[in-house]
C-alpha cells in the first residue's frame, strides 16, 4: 500500500470511529430541569448560589450566580426545558428577563456540552490559549497594617498579584491627604511584598473624576497594574479627565452587561483592562467582550467576588481568551471559609502556585460539586 493510501485509510477509519462514538447529539443534550441552591460562607458571610441544569441523558451542569429566587428558577426552567444545551447562545438572549440566571445558565450549559464532548470547556471554545492563568487575590482590610498582614499570607499561598482597596477620601474632592494616604499604602504594600508583587488599586467606583485623576497622577510612576473602577461610569467626558494625561492604566466593567458600554470606553480611549463581572455575564458573553478588547490591544481580567464554581468557569474562560491577563478570586481570611470553598468544588481549584492557577483538566467545567454541602433546593 502506498503511504498516502495508508494514511487515508487510517484517517477514514478514525473518522468513522468518531462518528460512531459521537457525543449524544439532539436528544441526549435536551434539558430536563434546573434547580438552584443558595450558599453562604460560614465566617465572611459571602453569599452565592449554584444553578444546576440537568440534561435528559443524565449529565448535569453547574453554574454560579449571586442570588436566585424560587420564581427565577421556575421561570428559567420554563425557558430551558426541552431545549438543547448546545443552544447556549440563543438561550442567553431568551433569559434576558432573568439576569440572575443568564450567566449561571451559560456556565451550566457549557459544562453539560463539555462533559458530553468529553472535553474541558476551554477546548470547546478553541483553547487552551495558555497552560496556566495568572492569579490575583483580592485582599480586604481596615488599614495598611491589616492589608500587609493579609498580603503576606496570600504570598505564602502562592499569589503575586493583589487587588487592594484604595484609601477612600473623607469627602469628594478632598485633595492632598487622600492622595498621600494612597501613595503611602502602595509604598507599604510594595515594601512588604517585594519587587515581584503587583497591585491593582480598587477604587470601587467611589471617587470623583477629580480625585481619580489626582490618584492616577500620584501613582503613575509607581506602576500599579491598574486603577480599578476609579469612578462611576457616568459621564465619559468626566472620565477622560483621568485617562487623557496620565499613563496609569484604568480598569472598568464590573457593573457592565452591555458590550456597547465597553465600545464607548474604547472609542474614547478610557480603558486599559476590561473587568466584566463573571457572575453578571458568563463565559460566552465575556468572550465576546474580549473580542472588542483584542482589536484595541486591551486585556481582559474578569471580576469575580463569588464562589469556587464561578472561579472554575473563570479559568476555562481564561484559557479560551488570547488577551486574558489575570483572574481575581476572593482570598478568604478565615480558614473555615477557605475550607468551605475547597470542600464545595474541589481542593486545588483556587490554589495558586508561583503566581498562577493551574487549569482544570476534566471534561466540562471539571467540577465535582459536593452535593452534601448544598442544603435545601431554592423552591
Amino acid at each position: 500500500m502506498r503511504a498516502i493510501d495508508f494514511r487515508r485509510s487510517r484517517l477514514s477509519a478514525f473518522l468513522a470511529a468518531q462518528a460512531n462514538t459521537r457525543a449524544p447529539g439532539s436528544g441526549g443534550l435536551s434539558i430536563a430541569d434546573c434547580k438552584a441552591y443558595a450558599l453562604r460562607e460560614p465566617v465572611s458571610g459571602r453569599e452565592y448560589a449554584l444553578l444546576k441544569i440537568e440534561a435528559t441523558g443524565g449529565i448535569a451542569g453547574w453554574g454560579e450566580t449571586r442570588s436566585i429566587s424560587a420564581d427565577d428558577v421556575a421561570r428559567a426552567a420554563a425557558v430551558l426545558r426541552g431545549r438543547q444545551a448546545t443552544e447556549f447562545v440563543p438561550l442567553h438572549a431568551e433569559l434576558t428577563a432573568l439576569p440572575n440566571v443568564q450567566a449561571a445558565a451559560n456556565m451550566a450549559l457549557l459544562d453539560i456540552v463539555g462533559q458530553a464532548a468529553k472535553a474541558p470547556v476551554y477546548q470547546l471554545l478553541g483553547g487552551p490559549t495558555r497552560h496556566k492563568a495568572r492569579a490575583m487575590a483580592s485582599l480586604m482590610g481596615p488599614d495598611d497594617a491589616a492589608l500587609v498582614a493579609w498580603l503576606k499570607r496570600a504570598q505564602v499561598a502562592g499569589f503575586h498579584a493583589f487587588l487592594v482597596p484604595a484609601v477612600k477620601p473623607a469627602a469628594l474632592n478632598s485633595g492632598q491627604a487622600f492622595v498621600n494616604a494612597n501613595r503611602k499604602r502602595l509604598e507599604a504594600l510594595r515594601a512588604a511584598g517585594g519587587d515581584q508583587s503587583d497591585f491593582v488599586i480598587d477604587c470601587g467606583a467611589a471617587l470623583s473624576p477629580g480625585d481619580a485623576a489626582s490618584l492616577s497622577d500620584a501613582l503613575e510612576r509607581m506602576h500599579p497594574l491598574w486603577l480599578d473602577e476609579p469612578c462611576a461610569l457616568t459621564s465619559l467626558n468626566a472620565i477622560s479627565k483621568v485617562a487623557a494625561e496620565r499613563v496609569t492604566p484604568l480598569g472598568f466593567g464590573r457593573s457592565v452587561t452591555h458590550a456597547a458600554v465597553f465600545q464607548d470606553l474604547l472609542r474614547e480611549d478610557l480603558i486599559d483592562v476590561f473587568r466584566p463581572d463573571l457572575l453578571r455575564n458568563g463565559i460566552t458573553q465575556i468572550k465576546k467582550f474580549a473580542a472588542l478588547a483584542e482589536a484595541n490591544y486591551v486585556s481582559v481580567a474578569p471580576y469575580h467576588d463569588g464562589g469556587p464554581v464561578g472561579a472554575a468557569a473563570a479559568l476555562h474562560l481564561a484559557a479560551s481568551l488570547p488577551n486574558f491577563f489575570a483572574q481575581q478570586v476572593p482570598q478568604p481570611v478565615a480558614e473555615e471559609d477557605r475550607r468551605f470553598r475547597a470542600d464545595l468544588a474541589g481542593a486545588g481549584l483556587e490554589t495558586a502556585t508561583d503566581g498562577y492557577f493551574a487549569l482544570p483538566t476534566a471534561p466540562g467545567l471539571g467540577l465535582r460539586v459536593n452535593v452534601s454541602m448544598l442544603g435545601k433546593e431554592v423552591a
Binding site: 487552551p128 490559549t129 495558555r130 497552560h131 496556566k132 492563568a133 495568572r134 498579584a161 510594595r190 519587587d195 515581584q196 503587583d198 503613575e220 510612576r221 509607581m222 506602576h223 500599579p224 497594574l225 491598574w226 487623557a244 494625561e245 496620565r246 499613563v247 496609569t248 492604566p249 480611549d269 486599559d272 483592562v273 482589536a295 484595541n296 490591544y297 486591551v298 486585556s299 481580567a301 488570547p322 488577551n323 486574558f324 491577563f325 489575570a326 498562577y356
Partner: protein
C-alpha cells in the same frame, strides 16, 4: 494555466469573430468580461521599444535555517538589459515566490519603462488589494523595473527621482542589540566615533503582555537608561518596541524614557489600530515611528492624517518598491513627518532604498540590520555585488554611481546559496504559554 487559456480564448474570440470553436467558460455571475489580456497596441506610439522577455524568481538561503531567504527577481528584456529586485518577506518566502510567478502575465511582454502603469495593474487588478505577500511581490518587480529603466536611460534611480539631496550619501544607523555591559557600551561608543556613526537602534530585551508588571517595566527602563549612559549624550538612540507592547504598557514605559531624549520609539504597539497608537502619542513627547509592516500609500494615510507619528518607516521590500516608498515619503512630507525606511532583508532592497532616501527632502536616517562590525553576511553581499553593500563610510551609505540600482549581479553568484525552503519567524510565548509579539 487555465486562466491563460481563458484569456487567449477570449481575445481570440474578440479578434477572430469567434471563428475558433471553444466551449464558453462557465459563468458564475461573478466575473466581468475579461478585457484584452496584454498591453494595448495603442501604447506603442508613446512607449519604448523595450519589452520584458522573461522573469526569473530566486529563493536564496544564506543558511539552511534562515527565516528570510532572499527572494530576488530578475527581469530580462529584448535588448539585453536585465533588472534585479527584491521581495524578501520574513517567514513567507514560498508565498512571495509563488505570488511573483502569479504576476508573470502582468510583466512578461510589458514595456518596462511604464513602471507606474505596471505597478497599478499589479495592485488594482489583483482585486484583493495589498497585504504583505502581494505587496512584497510587487515590491520586487517594481525595483527590477526601476533598475531596467535607469539602465535604459543611463541614470541612477535617484536621479530619475530628482536627487540626490546630499552627494556624501545617506545617513544611516546600525543595531546595538546585545550590547549591555558598561565596557561593551564604551567600546561601541569609541568605534562609533571612529567610524563617524551618529545613530544606533536597540530594543527592550523582554516580551510583554498587554498589561505588565512593575518588575518588567522597571527592568526595561534600566536597560535603556544604561544605553544612553554608555553611548553618551551626542549619539542618537532609537528604541524599537517591535510592537511587543500594548498602548497601555508602551505609554507607561515611554513616560519613564522621556529624559533619555530618544530619536524615536518605534512600533510602540501593533500596527492594525491607528487610534490605539494615537493614544500613546497623545501622552508622550518622545517622537514615535512606525510603518515597516504597512503596505502602499493606502496603509499610511490614516497615520499621516491623524498626526499620530513623527517618523515613517516603510520597507521597500513590502510597501510596493521604489514607487510606493517614494509616494509615502511625499505624503509624509506634506504633514511634516520624517522618513527612516526599514531595511532588514537582503542587499538589493537595501540599495534600492538608498536611491529613494537620497531624493526625499524629509529623509532622516536609513536602517540596516547589522552591527558596527561587518559580519559574514556583509562578506557575502560584497562577494555578490563587488562592493561593501550597505556598509557606511563616515556614518553614511555611499550612493551607487552606475545606472539603474547601480550594481551588477549574476545568477552564478547566487547559485552557491540555493533556496532551502521557507522557515517561520520566531514564535514567542509568555510564561503562561500564551502568544506574544517579539
Amino acid at each position: 494555466m487555465r486562466r491563460r487559456e481563458l484569456l487567449q480564448g477570449t481575445t481570440a474570440a474578440l479578434f477572430a469573430g469567434g471563428a475558433r470553436e471553444r466551449k464558453p467558460p462557465l459563468d458564475c455571475g461573478c466575473t466581468f468580461q475579461v478585457q484584452a489580456a496584454s498591453r494595448a497596441a495603442a501604447f506603442d506610439r508613446v512607449g519604448s521599444k523595450l519589452r520584458i522577455t522573461g522573469m526569473k524568481v530566486f529563493g536564496v538561503s544564506l543558511s539552511a535555517n534562515s527565516d528570510r531567504p532572499y527572494v530576488f527577481v530578475k527581469l530580462e528584456t529584448n535588448q539585453g538589459i536585465v533588472g534585479w529586485g527584491e521581495g524578501t518577506l520574513e517567514g513567507k518566502a514560498g508565498s512571495v515566490i509563488a505570488c511573483m510567478n502569479d504576476f508573470h502575465d502582468f510583466v512578461v511582454g510589458a514595456d518596462p519603462i511604464q513602471v507606474e502603469h505596471i505597478w497599478q495593474s499589479m495592485y488594482v487588478h489583483s482585486f484583493y488589494r495589498g497585504g504583505p505577500v502581494i505587496g512584497s511581490a510587487i515590491s520586487g518587480i517594481d525595483q527590477a523595473l526601476w533598475d531596467i529603466r535607469g539602465k535604459a536611460l543611463g541614470m541612477p534611480a535617484y536621479e530619475l527621482l530628482g536627487g540626490p539631496f546630499d552627494t556624501r550619501g545617506v545617513r544611516g544607523y546600525y543595531h546595538a542589540d546585545g550590547v549591555r555591559t558598561p565596557d561593551q557600551l564604551k567600546q561601541l561608543r569609541e568605534t562609533a566615533i571612529e567610524q563617524g556613526v551618529s545613530c544606533f537602534k536597540a530594543g527592550p530585551a523582554g516580551y510583554y503582555e498587554w498589561i505588565d508588571t512593575n518588575a518588567k517595566i522597571t527592568q526595561t527602563v534600566k536597560q535603556l537608561a544604561a544605553l544612553r549612559e554608555g553611548l553618551g549624550p551626542d549619539i542618537d538612540i532609537a528604541v524599537d518596541f517591535h510592537a511587543k507592547t500594548s498602548p497601555t504598557v508602551a505609554s507607561i514605559i515611554i513616560k519613564e524614557l522621556e529624559p533619555l531624549n530618544l530619536l524615536w520609539v518605534e512600533e510602540p504597539c501593533p500596527p492594525e489600530n491607528v487610534k490605539a497608537m494615537a493614544r500613546i502619542a497623545r501622552r508622550s513627547t518622545t517622537p514615535l515611528a512606525t510603518g515597516e509592516r504597512l503596505g502602499a500609500c493606502y496603509g499610511f494615510r490614516e497615520l499621516i492624517e491623524m498626526g499620530v507619528v513623527d517618523i515613517l518607516q516603510p520597507d521597500i521590500n513590502h510597501v510596493g518598491g521604489i514607487s510606493a516608498l517614494w509616494k509615502v515619503g511625499a505624503m509624509a512630507e506634506a504633514a511634516g513627518i520624517s522618513m527612516a525606511p526599514h531595511a532588514c532583508e537582503g542587499p538589493i532592497g537595501g540599495i534600492a532604498t538608498l536611491h529613494v532616501d537620497s531624493a526625499m527632502p524629509n529623509f532622516l536616517v536609513q536602517e540596516i540590520c547589522g552591527g558596527v562590525r561587518a559580519s559574514a553576511q556583509d562578506k557575502i553581499w560584497e562577494e555578490w555585488l563587488g562592493f561593501p553593500a550597505m556598509r557606511m563610510v563616515n556614518g553614511r551609505f555611499p550612493l551607487p554611481e552606475k545606472p539603474g540600482l547601480g550594481f551588477d549581479l549574476t545568477e552564478a553568484a547566487l547559485a552557491k546559496y540555493p533556496f532551502a525552503g521557507t522557515r517561520p519567524m520566531a514564535r514567542v510565548f509568555a510564561p503562561d504559554g500564551s502568544v506574544v509579539e517579539w
